[in-house]
């Protein structure tokens, strides 16, 4: 099953004194996914602690049809990290019609429904369920070649959990889970995603019963898990996403010039609805009419739009194109290495996010660190609001209330010309505790220390677990920085 698995070149192979982490990180660079940064930092931090790290992911060709690739992300991956690429790809994103059966070509929607059902029969996750067997075999093979001391599963996909469980069940290798957004919680719409007695519920319970540590990205999600599984409450840790220092311009490159036209920017995956984008663009148009400072303003949208057959060709691109006369443009994805430069060319930022109180997004930290004024387009009760609360160049969140968004654009324009260097520096200081490197270093140190301290002869089938009992890693940092979170 794991033909591409080859550990012979591993620099770490055979060195038994160094602890070994198997890191299930589907989305690891060069995948142009937002989770790639977190995964890269996590793996690098384990390397910094002198662990051997084997990352398990899928090949670049599989990302080509998904969210795309950014090879510049590889530049900062520790060269000692071994990457195992499993021959897996999302069948539903296949775009080569020669590989379609006649039934799929004829009834694509029905085929997709049936695929989802088949996937769920293997593991209760409709998109990735069928990857279970390959993942399970892969971790067993890696462990056989190079015994692991810890497995860290980053989700999504949640089917990673099956592989973590397999290795624990058969070899007693302890595991931790980086849930990021959480499984049993519907982070976009709120509420639970499945009940405790559903198949997914039973899986989650089983996994959490025995995991060393559970990481999530914000407090509302952590609260959900602490409430739902009180017996693992002390193993739930908030590990915020943070931002990469090299992604933000260190000095302001130019003075705003309203005569030449201010530039507002959005950088991130364009994953919201056409309705949401439509409201933003309507508000933008109206703000340009009303606000003299915005008369010549431009609004640049950068990032990935759509996947599979719809990549960069859907209703969102059409909406953006129709708004060209209002100074709106789409410039495609930005390589990681060029992110800082891109922010450096903008005067203000537009933060468009889906979901509510359970969604933070990594982007908000990066936005905050640029020191630029921020226009928020998301629910009022959104975790990003909590992160931005107190930010002096933030216009506030008003959901999709168009009139208030018009005011927000206008207020941001005024902030652009009125903000002092001191204010901008203050904003950056506000963001200082949220560098990804700082956040992940604390989290990884705790997890690594605990994994090594735990007894190595854990019984098979997990009768004994020694979970981490340290307080949430972010709590102390946030308290010291005086940030509400």
């Amino acid at each position: 099953m794991t033909q591409s698995l080859d550990v012979s070149n591993s620099a770490a192979a055979g060195r038994s004194r160094r602890p070994h982490l198997i890191y299930l990180a589907i989305g690891f660079p060069p995948a142009a996914k937002s989770c790639a940064y977190r995964m890269r930092e996590t793996a690098n931090q384990f390397r910094r602690l002198d662990w051997d790290v084997t990352v398990v992911t899928i090949p670049p060709a599989s990302w080509e049809r998904d969210s795309g690739l950014d090879y510049s992300l590889l530049e900062q991956v520790d060269p000692e990290i071994k990457v195992v690429e499993l021959p897996l790809a999302r069948e539903d994103l296949e775009t080569d019609i020669r590989k379609f059966s006649e039934e799929r070509a004829l009834r694509p929607a029905k085929w997709l429904t049936n695929l989802r059902k088949r996937e769920k029969r293997i593991f209760p996750e409709p998109v990735f369920g069928s990857w279970r067997g390959t993942l399970e075999q892969a971790v067993l093979d890696i462990h056989r070649e190079h015994p692991a001391d810890l497995l860290l599963a980053s989700c999504t996909p949640y089917v990673n959990l099956a592989a973590a469980w397999k290795l624990w069940e058969t070899h007693g290798v302890p595991y931790a889970v980086d849930y990021r957004d959480g499984w049993s919680i519907d982070v976009v719409n709120g509420g639970q995603a499945f009940t405790p007695d559903s198949e997914a519920g039973v899986w989650e319970r089983q996994i959490l019963d025995h995991c060393q540590s559970l990481w999530v990205v914000n407090d509302p999600i952590a609260d959900h898990y602490r409430t739902r599984y009180p017996h693992v409450a002390n193993r739930v840790h908030v590990v915020r996403n943070g931002y990469d220092k090299d992604s933000v311009p260190m000095v302001r490159p130019h003075t705003p010039d309203p005569e030449a036209g201010l530039t507002f920017g959005y950088l991130g995956t364009v994953n919201y609805t056409t309705h949401q984008l439509g409201v933003v663009l309507d508000a933008w148009r109206e703000a340009r009419k009303q606000e003299p400072l915005l008369r010549n303003a431009r609004f640049e949208i950068r990032g990935h739009i759509g996947a599979g057959a719809n990549r960069e060709a859907n209703g969102l691109t059409e909406l953006i194109r129709e708004a060209a006369a209002d100074g709106v443009s789409f410039g495609g994805p930005v390589r990681k290495a060029e992110v800082g430069q891109t922010y450096g060319g903008w005067d203000a930022l537009v933060l468009i996010l889906i979901g509510g109180r359970y969604v933070t997004s990594g982007k908000v930290y990066e936005y905050m660190a640029t020191g630029l004024p921020i226009v928020s387009v998301h629910e009022v009760d959104h975790d990003a609001s909590r992160v931005l609360d107190g930010h002096p160049l933030w216009t506030g969140a008003f959901g999709l209330d168009e009139l208030r968004l018009v005011d927000s654009f206008r207020a941001a324009a005024r902030m652009v010309v009125e903000a002092t260097d001191e204010q901008r520096a203050g904003v950056r200081r506000h963001a200082d505790p949220f560098t990804r490197e700082t956040l992940m270093r604390h989290a990884v140190e705790q997890l690594a220390a605990h994994a090594l301290a735990a007894p190595r002869d854990l019984p098979v089938n997990g009768a004994v677990v020694h979970p981490s009992s340290e307080p949430s890693t972010m709590d102390e940092i946030e308290r010291s920085a005086g940030v509400r979170a």
């Binding site: 049809r65 020669r98 694509p108 509420g191 309705h275 060709a313 059409e318 194109r321």
Partner: protein
């Protein structure tokens, strides 16, 4: 140079197409397009090397019976394969590209014949294929020849398709259009479906085939006949009830009142009751839902000039009052705690909720947004995916009520609503439809619940799914609507009923005061003609009679036409209306101005404002017209005429008339001279501003929302 053939099953958005073609040409390819395309809509900068534009509906069009049975992808293929140009391009193309899901099958079929071509779905994939081709060595002549032949698997599939088509052909022959349209054919099938000693399953199958034949022959009445006849012979009550319901539903779909609606509703309710007694509440909810859907279909009540419910409210809802399942649903649950009085130490937290339609909320929202004693939050249940999915969920709602309020759906509704209820001191739900049912599905705690019922809700099923015992205040926009609602829902007349209020809609009428030119005196007008209930044909009749006496009179119609696709009944009404006004429009006596955002401007030229509706709540368009100084002429809305409250009690004496002839007399009298017309208009305007302007009405809202209801 490579050749690319794009295939469109549905019309691509011009911008997307333009970008796609540009990106493909940037790789050096020639780009050709076949499929659903409107050449007039293509972007000006689009540079295609070849185009075969086919009708936009190729994925939907069913000109033949075979096409009717096909899935959209097959229809697109059937149409495109007939184009020699498309076949030639497909044979020689290097990359075949499906632009949408309906085009995939066509590309798949083309790719069976052109075996060297790449076949891709989506533009990014096509660009990638072109890039990869550049790195591949070209195929030799022999290989190209071999690749041009269809594959053996392709041939086998073609043969299989031919064989599988044979039984369909046989069925087609015995249900052909001429047979189904003839009396003898109908009789033959009626006899067939009633043949004795046939198992239910076979009888049902035969009936479905025959009904499909009737549908193909455009005979919805025949469909209903066949299904009703079959139902009478089915042994299982549930199957019988469902088929009777199916028969009625086919007639409603065709825009016709069903011939035996009452029996179908009763049969469905009987089985729903049985299921409920057996604690099979999923099934009971399904059957009850079907019964309600049929009984309250818009064809019966909304798209007609009369309604069986309005004619005999108590008789119409009697089967539901006798049904165990329906009465269980309607049983009041009550609230565990009384609503708390408005807070005195902080602003009132007011949650305003609706689902998509906030037409009558804007003024209320902006007023209370700026009100120091109120903190407003607004939730559009249709705009939030999590709430939308639990709002218009009639069947799960019914099942929840039937299952002693214990279902996963109820838990979900509770979970999603509770944060809103916890925050709010008062919830104001506009429209007594699904949102009201949802908000009363859960216990509101100490939050006060106010629901406003406008008008059409009384003709819907929602009042039977709302728990009025969890509503503290029920607001109506007029007395006659309150009367109808309390007749339909007896609980509203009982001792535990919510407080009932009649409050006018929030309208800013001051902006409508306009100086009218002298010519407006002969200009009749209507604002809003988009529903059958507005009955503009009645107003046209008034104009026709008027012009027989004085041809200076003309009419302006403000607002969009009714949507003919909503129901067959709407379409038929619109066609009749178009016939009525054809000549009048040609002579300039009637002008349709279409939808507008600037009603006050339109009213400038209207001297007489007409309400010709068969039913209304309060008719805002008429009130706005009156405020503008137009002379109001109101038909005594037939749904309510002769009852204790009606248009005659809502409006001042002298505005309401009973017939087109009376309308003519009123108009001639009030517009006899410029002075009399202006005097009547000013009087109407003064009345409207005095009674209905927001500056007056807002005090009622303040009292409702801010005063302690116990005091």
């Amino acid at each position: 140079m490579s050749d690319v053939l794009l295939v469109a099953g549905v019309a691509p958005q011009p911008g997307i197409l333009s970008t796609a073609v540009r990106r493909l040409r940037e790789t050096g390819a020639r780009v050709h397009l076949v499929g659903a395309v409107d050449p007039d809509e293509l972007a000006e900068d689009l540079q295609l090397d070849g185009l075969c534009a086919l009708p936009l509906n190729i994925a939907k069009d069913t000109p033949t019976r075979t096409a009717a049975r096909q899935v959209p992808g097959e229809r697109v293929w059937s149409r495109i394969r007939r184009e020699p140009w498309a076949r030639e391009q497909a044979r020689t193309a290097d990359v075949l590209v499906a632009l949408d899901a309906h085009a995939i099958y066509t590309v798949w079929r083309f790719a069976q014949r052109n075996r060297t071509a790449d076949a891709r779905y989506g533009i990014q994939a096509a660009v990638q294929a072109l890039t990869e081709r550049k790195d591949r060595p070209a195929a030799g002549a022999l290989q190209r020849l071999a690749n041009g032949l269809p594959s053996s698997s392709g041939l086998k599939q073609s043969v299989n398709r031919l064989i599988n088509a044979a039984p369909r052909a046989a069925v087609n022959a015995v249900t052909a259009r001429p047979i189904m349209r003839s009396r003898a054919g109908t009789q033959l099938w009626l006899t067939a479906v009633k043949t004795p000693k046939v198992p239910d399953s076979l009888r049902t199958k035969v009936a479905q085939q025959a009904a499909k034949g009737m549908a193909w022959a455009d005979r919805p009445d025949g469909e209903a006949l066949i299904l009703t006849a079959t139902a009478s012979k089915l042994r299982k009550p549930a199957a019988r009830a469902r088929m009777m319901g199916e028969a009625a539903s086919r007639e409603l779909k065709a825009g016709m009142p069903p011939r035996d609606l009452d029996s179908a509703v009763k049969a469905l309710l009987d089985v729903a009751d049985q299921r409920h007694r057996a604690d099979q509440n999923g099934g009971a909810a399904d059957l009850l839902n079907r019964a309600m859907t049929l009984a309250f279909d818009r064809v019966l009540h909304i798209d007609q000039l009369t309604s069986p419910l309005a004619e005999d409210p108590e008789g119409f809802v009697a089967p539901f009052r006798r049904s165990l399942a329906a009465t269980t649903v309607a049983t009041p649950r009550g609230r565990r705690q009384p609503a708390a009085p408005p807070p005195t130490d902080r602003p009132l937290r007011l949650l305003i909720a609706t689902s998509a339609n906030d037409n009558f909320l804007k003024l209320i929202r902006s007023y209370y947004d700026a009100h120091p004693q109120v903190e407003v939050r607004f939730v559009d249940l249709a705009a939030n995916a999590a709430l939308k999915s639990v709002t218009w969920a009639a069947k799960p709602m019914l099942e929840h009520r039937l299952s002693a309020d214990s279902t996963p759906y109820g838990d979900k509704a509770e979970e999603r609503l509770r944060p809103y209820l916890d925050w709010a001191d008062t919830v104001f739900v506009d429209w007594c439809v699904a949102p009201a049912a949802l908000f009363t599905l859960v216990d509101p705690g100490t939050t006060r619940v106010i629901v406003r019922l406008h008008s059409y809700e009384t003709l819907s099923r929602w009042p039977y799914m709302v728990d009025f015992s969890r509503i503290d205040d029920l607001v109506f926009v007029a007395d006659h609507i309150r009367d109808l609602a309390t007749t339909l829902v007896p609980y509203l007349r009982g001792p535990d009923a919510p407080r009932l209020h009649v409050m006018d809609n929030a309208m800013d009428l001051r902006g409508f005061q306009i100086d009218k030119p002298a010519e407006a005196r002969f200009q009749l007008g209507m604002v809003g003609i988009s529903q059958v209930a507005k009955d503009p044909r009645w107003a046209v009749e008034v104009l026709r009679l008027l012009r027989e006496r004085d041809d200076r009179y003309r009419m302006l119609l403000v607002g969009g036409d009714m949507n003919p696709n909503v129901s067959v009944a709407s379409r038929e009404y619109l066609e009749a209306f178009n016939r009525d006004v054809r000549e009048l429009e040609a002579s300039g006596a009637v002008r349709r101005l279409g939808p507008t955002d600037d009603v006050p401007k339109m009213l400038t030229d209207i001297g007489v404002i007409i309400s010709s509706s068969v039913r209304e709540g309060c008719h805002c368009g008429l009130m706005e017209g009156a405020a503008s100084g137009a002379v109001p002429v109101v038909r005594d809305w037939p749904f309510f005429a002769g009852r204790p409250n009606s248009a005659r009690t809502l409006y001042p004496e002298g505005w309401v008339i009973g017939s087109p002839q009376e309308a003519v007399e009123l108009i001639l009298r009030t517009t006899a001279t410029d002075e009399s017309w202006r005097a009547a208009g000013q009087e109407a305007s003064a009345y409207a501003l005095r009674e209905w302007d927001w500056s007056v009405v807002r005090h009622d809202f303040d009292r409702l929302l801010l005063d302690d209801p116990r005091s």
